[in-house]
Symmetry: C2
Subunit: 239 residues, 2 copies
């Protein structure tokens, strides 16, 4: 076993690492659109929606004077823009809210729930996601994610990879950074976690972005654990 | 059923409402003290410890310039004073930390886990406690409390019954105050929750303070639900 015997809590990136946001959203919106008689290229919309994610958070980071904006609201701003851009007409406020809450209805990767259940027997497990608390809470109810508690960028008023998120998670858990392990499918997230003293585990999710995947096919740092999936992570950690 | 059909989340007072802090601590410390060969009046110590709870939080409230202090640290300050007062000698730092973490090891009332499990099937359930996040998280692991997320005064840097706690809980849950129901064995907590727009449920815990119980034998306000215990609360709410 790796040098992780002091780890007491595992915190997880969520979008891409725990849930398959792309397949979930395309499936969810295609079904809903079909029921509603709406024709739209939902795949292109979902990919454009996600492409706006990093710039939207960067904008919050660069303008602290405007205050923190939760991810639900960033998603909604982008969505309203995309609805115009893709020339989808006739959508009510209720429709827009339903689409936006697609992010609350994402499905887990097949190994996520069984792996988390095993890990929970030995560790405190929590998301540490840029999703807001309500989004992560509703997602967990929908997807059966057995979190012990919900940690979110919203609690720290900073988006990952800002240091406040990783250090804030350790502080709320009453632990030292090295007693917390960040689990992610994204090397950038792990790099920031490691720089702030957390332990790190990489789990590849090479189909996250579908044909658009252009990174994170494998580990690109000296991570404490590299695991095939969450069940394999549980094995690495003796669960 | 009462007019509670819009309620989406239930938030719970914890000390006294979900867990029997007094019996738990007296039992835990008497056992530990016996193993360590320590003679002490643990019942008197536990009662004195809890009696210092409200004044300690009031002190934080009255001195915002000193910053928020989490409950673990308030408990520890009181404990150190009581150890002197009760003339208990020979306690190491590890011993003191172990005693202080007795609050992380509290046991639920017999109906708490079955009742919460039923309520979780229909509602988001969370503590809304003056305990800090780590305390509540560790308690849930020990006691098997199936929270969806952990809400704590620590997240709002205000102790109940400050408005920031009730309104902050609704905000993090993405709900209006009237979509959140506060569950407590304490009329004062419910009064503050109701004043801030939350729905309210009273569950009596008439043995909470043992022979020192001098209040909260029954409902003292127009609460939305009065239930015998958590299973009865589940029945009231159609779970």
């Amino acid at each position: 076993m790796p040098n992780t015997q002091d780890v007491k809590a595992l915190v997880f990136d969520v979008f891409g690492t725990v849930v398959d946001w792309r397949t979930s959203l395309i499936t969810d919106l295609s079904w809903w659109g079909g029921q509603r008689g709406l024709k739209a290229d939902w795949t292109a919309i979902v990919d454009a929606w996600r492409a706006a994610y990093m710039p939207a958070m960067d904008d919050v980071r660069k303008h602290p004077e405007r205050g923190y904006v939760i991810l639900d609201d960033l998603h909604r701003r982008t969505l309203d823009r995309l609805i115009d851009q893709f020339e989808i007409t006739g959508l009510s406020e209720t429709d827009r809210d339903h689409i936006n809450r697609g992010w609350h209805r994402l499905n887990p990767w097949p190994d996520s729930v069984p792996g988390l259940t095993r890990l929970k027997s030995k560790f405190v497990i929590a998301p540490l996601s840029n999703g807001n608390v309500a989004l992560l809470t509703n997602m967990a109810k929908n997807a059966g994610l057995p979190w012990d508690l919900v940690l979110s960028a919203e609690l720290f008023q900073h988006y990952k990879p800002d240091a406040e998120t990783y250090l804030g998670a350790a502080r709320l858990l009453g632990l030292k950074p090295e007693q917390v392990m960040m689990v992610a499918a994204h090397n950038g997230d792990l790099k920031a976690a490691q720089a702030n003293g957390l332990k790190t585990a990489f789990v590849p999710r090479v189909t996250e972005y579908g044909p658009l995947q252009d990174r994170d096919f494998g580990p690109e740092g000296a991570w404490d654990i590299v695991a095939r999936d969450f069940n394999n992570l549980a094995e690495h950690l003796g669960c």
